[in-house]
Symmetry: C2
Subunit: 259 residues, 2 copies
């Protein structure tokens, strides 16, 4: 064993959220945060408190969640990924670990994030995608859906799409990309923004799909958005279609992403 | 309740094989066949023995498995799919049900099948695909792999790729398509043939990948194939990458598929 070092680490983590009660530690039910903290404790003996960039809900996935934490360990940083992976279940994968400045915080240092949302849009369910896409049987017209999404780009009060229980002080966020496209029998939404309110992506997707199925007109959609009237928005789209793709800490990388 | 009818049915079924001990009923462990038979029994009270077109292994998936069976029921055929789906877990999906001639048998009436096999070919694992693709870190060169696959097309003795325990009387099969291509970070194999020996696709994929990673030369691959020497072939590729895509009962539809 080498000397104990006090490390400040940033890790990128991918996970299948199907079996977890979300990212953030909570009293009832296993979470991704708890698994990571237990894995780090088992590996190093240190009691770690990790901060996540996004508090993904139960059933929501991540390809590029970022966590930051302080760790006392003799393990060199370049051995951290395989060492920790050995302590984790196969539905959580550590992609990389780098040393960062003490001031770095996975959530507060972030300049933006990308999420995608998958919809299986056909009659028959697909058991292989049941945990990774929302299944919508009714026909969805992408043209008005994209028009609705276009209204959301820019800095706006997204209160219409904020769930009760969100802790954000201000409902103003900036969306830089809000796009949907059809790929075979799937519709894939992509969102890029400087921050997201609680359930914001799922509420946007649910309401935009009600435009695609002609339950709501574009004018009604616009009014809900401008009136910030959560009671009029559509259903919250189910968790399993949502995936946190990437978290950005460099403004230039963020600006170049998905553009 | 209407009158009881004696139906001969053909059903197309998709399933996620991750949680099952394969398709075929067995004493130890839950299988897809057992779930289907139990669902039919619960629905109709009839004790049904279904025949499957392919006996997929534990962990192997299907988008288009076909089953045939005789059923005494008052449920009309056009209500059978939603009625049975209500009795099944969400990792088994009934795609359609049609009446067939008494002589129809899911396995013996089939003229061919297509399988695909997915390989995630990159350094980092993907938790969202862990049950649906085999993860290979080493670089694979597709050019010699496709050359190896080309040798297999036609009618041949596939004994080199037959696992011990197979029940086939003859190891001669006809492969009409054997292809691999790269799609982003995945390699996707497709096989179309008139029949497949036990573990044949997984043994072919395992051995072809050892050509792609330069562990075996094309000449060595050819010798293994021609000598029908199972002991020299590569490892059996893991189950989770394999999926039964479609089963054909019409020669013209089979000839047109994937061509």
């Amino acid at each position: 064993m080498g000397a104990l070092n006090n490390l400040f680490l940033k890790m990128t983590v991918a996970y299948d959220g199907s079996c977890y009660h979300g990212f953030q530690r909570q009293p009832n039910g296993m979470t991704v945060q708890q698994k990571l903290e237990e894995g780090l404790a088992e590996l190093t003996g240190d009691c770690v408190n990790i901060a996540g960039a996004a508090r993904t809900d139960a059933g929501v996935h991540a390809l590029g969640q970022v966590v930051s934490f302080q760790l006392r360990t003799s393990i060199p940083v370049d051995r951290m990924v395989p060492a920790l992976q050995g302590k984790l279940p196969c539905d959580i994968v550590v992609r990389d670990a780098v040393e960062v400045d003490e001031a770095f915080h996975a959530r507060f240092s972030s300049v933006g994030k990308t999420y995608f949302y998958r919809v299986l849009n056909r009659e028959i369910a697909d058991p292989l995608r049941r945990n990774y896409a929302c299944h919508i049987r009714r026909e969805l017209d992408l043209h008005p859906m994209q028009e609705a999404l276009d209204m959301l780009v820019g800095e706006h009060d997204f209160g219409a799409f904020q769930a009760a229980g969100g802790s954000a002080r201000s409902p103003v966020r900036r969306l830089d990309l809000a796009h949907c496209k059809r790929m075979d029998n799937e519709i894939r939404f992509v969102f890029k923004g400087n921050g997201f309110l609680y359930h914001m992506v799922r509420n946007i997707v649910g309401t935009v799909m009600s435009v695609g199925s002609r339950e709501k007109t574009l004018k009604e959609f616009q009014k809900i958005f401008l009136d910030r009237d959560r009671t009029k928005a559509g259903n919250t789209a189910p968790a399993q279609g949502l995936c946190l793709q990437e978290v950005f800490y460099d403004q230039r990388q963020y600006d170049q992403a998905c553009s």
